[in-house]
Symmetry: C2
Subunit: 344 residues, 2 copies
DNA sequence: TTCTCTACTGTGAACGCTCACAGCGCCTTT
DNA sequence: AAAGGCGCTGTGAGCGTTCACAGTAGAGAA
């Protein structure tokens, strides 16, 4: 009953730390101490304050707190993709959700910011400086200067995937793309395939580079020649996959397996192969990368390399919070896992 | 040169309104007025202040501002889905992106909050009250009490889709589900189909209910009997679509068209039909709903009903900001559009 | 007993901003 | 010439916290 009184129908002025102090019979200082860990507070006072907080329905005014502490207790999730690409990407969901919930566990809200255009980029940068404790940066293309700028401005920062550009002083969390690619190619080889092609990711992204490197290495390991005609550049998009497959079939009609650097592209590859009358996996085996929902949506379902997105997001948050807490930047690389389905 | 001085390598104390005032040779008050619309400020002063702002690199401290105004100039995007369902849904991306950019145009950051569990729900509610000017609510299930709670707490609120529960005093923006369904069924009928089934959405969601209603109405209009065996409940998920299609084939093997209440479910339906050896669209026409990326990923590509997500998000933001500005709640219903592809 | 140390508590003073008010010229009106 | 109005400006107060400091009481040591 008394719970509802303090806030009838409309918006009453919310209780402040003063109200709590009066209610508990202590001073502001003591309430503040309780709010911030409860050190140097007598058990009796602690009790009184906690019950007063409950009775009044008090919530700390984060603006007032931020004003004096200088912290904002919030974190930005910054997406800097030239175009919608990342939003087409199903992995994005998983990453975003993971980060949100991991932060929520620390009572830190996530600000979503999208910097597609230059104007947006500037706006976001202006906002970030001073209004956010740290940034989770998601941008596949290393060309963009955001990471460097933020790093230079001294904003705690964790990138998703290794930022190719900067001199390594920026934290990142990434899956082990190289090993993932190796696992897939080795698996294709083990299945008897000998003309193994690849559709790469964009080669200005670390993922694109490393997956291709893994492909090359493994071919060499297996004693297979690396035929440049079998290497077709892609852009992580579905349409890119379709085009790449068409090009591949033209350049190397005898191909019997394709390692595609993303599931989305693999979908495109499948659809081109289907149109060309090639059966998957009988005529051509197709391996994807990501284990995104797209892998299950594809027909046949994709054999692919799982990226541990849940762990990636958790690690990103962990590293970022550590860095906000004063620790040094860190790089975390997480293992991938081969997922066998029907396409290879 | 002088631009970089005020912020060397580390984090220097950022310039305040005082610094700007001194630099411009005016008082805090005048700077504040410039910051808030520039009314009652002489051209000379305006100029001086603006140039001082540029020179110092000043950004307003939103915490200090919020502390006194009581506004936070931020908005929450609240997702209350029992499970991950909505994150599996490609529409989500579009909606989220649309809202983010629409808000960004007003310099308002979007706080992403996910309330899957009860604990998360409570945490978010506590945060929202007093820390956010308004809420964009996305929750398909009307059972959840969040909308009612927020509305009661006096928090400006706009729902995506009509909230079935509350007594209508909460704003919402929705596509015209009923008409969308009618268009699709009429199209199927026009293509000569006479045993038209439907896989519904969850019937505790407005979308589910209205699409089914549109289906029933149109059948009646066309003079077709409404056979309850042709109505199979679904849950908007891919797997749900697969199961529903299996059930349908068992109950009514002579079905020649299915209107599926979401593209994702339609994907599932397609895959069951394929396994059952039915050709689409020759044997059975399949119509989806949403025009999500899933529609393009499906084989054959889905004929579907486009929801105008870009407009939905823009309208949600518009209505919310209006409400924050003191206007009354509003309901907006936007037209859908039939998109013809290969599945029907 | 007195002293010191520790655990706890209360009290200004900020933090950077907006808002209300008062003051100052200057122009218009009477 | 005085009165009123208007456009512009500066100033003090206060938003709700935290932080540093000073102060108090009680326990233990001398």
């Amino acid at each position: 009953m008394s719970r509802t009184e303090q806030n009838g129908t409309g918006r009453r002025r919310p209780p402040t730390i003063h109200d709590v102090a009066r209610e508990a019979g202590v001073s502001r200082g003591t309430v503040s101490r309780v709010l911030n860990g409860g050190h140097n507070v007598s058990p009796a006072a602690l009790d009184a304050v906690q019950s007063a907080i409950r009775r009044t329905g008090y919530t700390v005014n984060r603006h007032a707190r931020s004003l004096i502490t200088g912290r904002s207790d919030s974190v930005a999730f910054l997406l800097t993709e030239p175009q919608e690409r990342f939003f087409e990407d199903p992995n994005f969901n998983v990453l975003l959700r993971g980060c949100t919930t991991a932060l929520a566990a620390h009572d830190i809200p996530l600000l979503l910011m999208i910097a597609g255009t230059e104007a947006e980029r500037r706006r976001n940068m202006r906002y970030i400086a001073g209004h956010v404790d740290g940034v989770l940066l998601v941008s596949s293309h290393s060309g963009d200067p955001v990471a460097a700028q933020l790093h230079e401005a001294g904003v705690p920062l964790v990138a998703c995937g290794k930022p190719l550009g900067q001199g390594s002083r920026v934290s990142y969390v990434a899956a082990d793309d190289r090993h993932g690619a190796r696992d897939m190619v080795r698996y294709l080889y083990g299945a008897g395939r000998r003309r193994i092609a690849t559709v790469t990711g964009p080669l200005d992204t670390p993922g694109g580079v490393d997956r291709l490197a893994g492909y090359r290495e493994t071919l060499a390991e297996c004693g297979l020649p690396v035929d440049e005609a079998l290497i077709v550049p892609g852009d992580y998009s579905r349409a890119g996959g379709e085009a790449a497959a068409a090009l591949l079939l033209e350049r190397a009609p005898d191909v019997d397996a394709v390692f595609v650097a993303s599931d989305l592209m693999a979908q495109g590859v499948l659809s081109t192969l289907e149109r060309a009358g090639r059966r998957v996996p009988q005529d051509i085996a197709v391996g994807g990368f990501d284990d995104s929902p797209a892998a299950l949506a594809a027909r046949p379902e994709l054999t692919t390399v799982r990226q541990p997105w849940d762990r990636i997001s958790a690690e990103m948050v962990r590293v970022l919070l550590a860095q906000i807490g004063g620790e040094d930047p860190a790089a975390v690389i997480l293992p991938t896992e081969l997922v066998r389905r029907d396409s290879a």
